[in-house]
């Protein structure tokens, strides 16, 4: 008894020899098309890199970024977790209740209360910050992109509604709005993340809308429309790729800004809990020991934040120069 099914539409197609040949051709031509599309793009990316490496600040930014991404991607290679449940909780050593200065055995950057290593907090804090910033910026950019695109392209009443809605979020200083939202959602890192996402998209919306408004008037858009492309296809295939350049620059620099805001909120008590590997919270904990003159708990996490934000600001600056059409020839 064979296991072949009774005849149906799928059965017939699988044994159709002409279909097999057609599939092969389609696949081969797909690969050719992909190569044809990628080649000039790869050449442009190489040119981008070449332009970036011309300015010292961009190089410094890229180097710092590589270091930070490495720390964030594989923190366990540098500071392995010591068997505690959550690797983001800095391991404690109850024998060492009082903070130790940098250079003490086992604590190259010093320790905090209860023997928590500052170096551990910094390395794993890189991961916390990177993950947090990526999530907030990606979600914000995605929402902002779509809303800005629709608002700018469609115009009319849809534009008005979306822009008024965006203005509401833009008119309140973000720190205060985030504080208010986070206060309602709870005092943990996820609540702060959601609160930041709820606020961050508004800047991108306005940015993209501005770009779309000017791109929309170009002749190639009319040509696309005349050749029968649907509105959706025009929006995503023609308008979108030409308008996202300023947003890429803004998003890169926002990675730093998000971390600044997150650190500030954690410092106020609205983010990570005590003992968590998060730079702002470490500074908060460090401030308690300020009167005793223990400086390392404040200085090192702050330097980490500074480096992180600086790296992204330098990258953003470099990207802005690279993406500026006037500089590319």
């Amino acid at each position: 008894m064979t296991s072949k099914q009774t005849s149906g539409p799928w059965e017939k197609k699988a044994t159709d020899p002409a279909k097999a040949v057609r599939d092969k051709v389609v696949k081969a031509s797909f690969m050719v098309n992909l190569k044809m599309a990628l080649k000039p793009r790869i050449r442009e990316w190489k040119f981008d890199l070449h332009l970036m490496s011309k300015s010292l600040t961009s190089i410094v930014g890229m180097v710092l970024l590589v270091i930070l991404i490495t720390l964030a991607a594989v923190p366990w290679l540098f500071m392995p977790p010591e068997g505690q449940g959550n690797p983001f909780e800095i391991p404690i050593d109850l024998n060492k209740r009082d903070p130790l200065p940098p250079g003490s055995p086992g604590y190259p950057l010093g320790s905090m209360v209860d023997g928590r290593s500052v170096l551990y907090g910094i390395v794993w804090g890189a991961r916390t910050s990177m993950a947090f910033a990526i999530q907030v910026v990606l979600v914000g950019a995605a929402i902002g992109l779509v809303l800005g695109l629709i608002s700018g392209y469609k115009g009319g009443i849809i534009d008005e509604i979306i822009m008024r809605f965006t203005d509401i979020f833009l008119s309140i200083p973000s720190l205060i709005l985030v504080m208010a939202i986070a206060a309602v959602l709870g005092r943990n890192l996820n609540a702060t993340k959601l609160a930041l996402m709820a606020v961050w998209w508004s800047g991108y919306t306005r940015l993209i809308r501005g770009q779309v408004l000017s791109i929309r008037e170009n002749t190639y858009i009319d040509a696309a429309r005349a050749s029968g492309s649907g509105e959706l296809k025009i929006m995503f295939r023609h308008v979108l790729p030409n308008s996202w350049a300023p947003m890429v620059v803004a998003a890169t620099m926002d990675m730093g800004t998000v971390v600044l805001v997150m650190a500030g909120l954690s410092y106020l008590g609205l983010g990570a809990p005590h003992g968590y590997a998060e730079w702002g919270m470490m500074i908060n904990d460090g401030q308690q020991r300020f009167v005793y003159g223990d400086w390392w708990m404040i200085v090192f996490p702050g330097l980490a934040i500074l480096t992180f934000v600086l790296a992204f600001n330098l990258m953003g600056d470099g990207l802005r120069d690279v993406l500026d059409p006037k500089m590319r020839r």
Partner: protein
């Protein structure tokens, strides 16, 4: 017995000892059992009549709390804006005039770094250096030293201390103002420097500047009288917008330096779920933001005749 986040507790002196009858009375008076949109309507109604509710964390009605704390934050923000504007415009102009010089490069890199520094960390570092380290400036005790007393007439301690006639009081006030205002001004200064530099560079390449030079005017006059005021136009926008942003930075600065202003109160209110306080503060901030945008637009129209006719 109600939990800490329960809105009823805002109106109770002693939440543990409240009787059911009292709780019911409060719920009825303040409409706490009605749907949210009805409560919001009552709140809006109150705002228009000057009553924004009672703040648990301030121990005062919200309007009184704001009136009490506003001068502190305003004085701080004003001094900070003064620092930022004078420092920023001067540095930015100089940077543009000597473009690509060592001064320019240093300024550019420093302003990039300055924007990357966390505000609260900067305040702590300043305290560490100037208070614990050198002992030049006082610690985070707020607007005055703990042994000083001041009769507040206007709420602006700089003025009040001068009015009281005691010089050492005035010095004390100034000493307490220096570090918080520098902390607050840091990021804004960097932004203003960048803005001023780029707009000044544009202006210096313009034709009327070339004409002024061709007329034989000394370079100083060309820069100060012709170039700078045109470069100021976009800078004014940045200054006005950053005033709203200063309120956000003030939250962190005031927390670090124990400054009894709106920022510190808003942080405490947010942490303790003081709903009336949070809503009152948010509304106030939004109003200030809109108002400062309006002022910026008016100044913009005044500075740039082209805008008026448009």
């Amino acid at each position: 017995m109600r939990a800490a986040g329960d809105p009823v507790t805002a109106y109770l002196q002693n939440p543990e000892k409240a009787t059911e009858a009292q709780i019911r009375l409060i719920e009825q008076k303040y409409h706490l059992n009605e749907p949210e949109y009805i409560q919001y309507w009552y709140w809006l109604n109150g705002v228009v009549h000057g009553d924004m509710g009672y703040s648990r964390t301030a121990g005062l009605p919200v309007t009184d709390a704001i009136a009490l704390k506003f001068p502190a934050t305003f004085e701080l923000a004003l001094i900070a804006v003064l620092f930022a504007v004078t420092g920023g415009i001067a540095l930015g102009t100089r940077s543009a005039v000597r473009a690509n010089s060592a001064f320019d490069q240093t300024t550019r890199v420093s302003s990039l770094v300055a924007v990357s520094i966390p505000v609260f960390w900067l305040g702590l570092i300043l305290l560490m250096i100037f208070y614990r380290g050198l002992g030049w400036l006082p610690g985070p005790t707020g607007r005055l030293g703990t042994t000083q007393e001041l009769h507040a007439v206007t709420g602006f301690f700089l003025i009040d201390s001068l009015l009281s006639g005691k010089l050492n009081l005035f010095v004390d006030v100034v000493e307490h103002l220096i570090m918080p205002s520098i902390t607050l001004a840091f990021a804004s200064t960097a932004l203003i420097v960048r803005m001023m530099r780029s707009s000044m560079l544009e202006v210096l390449g313009a034709e009327y500047v070339r004409t002024a030079r061709a007329k034989g005017l000394p370079e100083k006059v060309v820069i100060n009288r012709h170039a700078r005021r045109n470069a100021l136009i976009p800078t004014v926008t940045v200054v006005g917008l950053s005033f709203g942003g200063l309120l956000g930075g003030a939250v962190l600065t005031e927390t670090v330096f124990n400054w009894p202003g709106l920022g510190q109160w808003s942080a405490v209110a947010a942490l303790n779920l003081d709903t009336a306080g949070i809503m009152g503060f948010t509304m106030l901030t939004a109003m200030i933001y809109v108002f400062s945008n309006l002022i910026v637009d008016i100044i913009y129209a005044y500075l740039d005749p082209r805008v008026r006719l448009g």
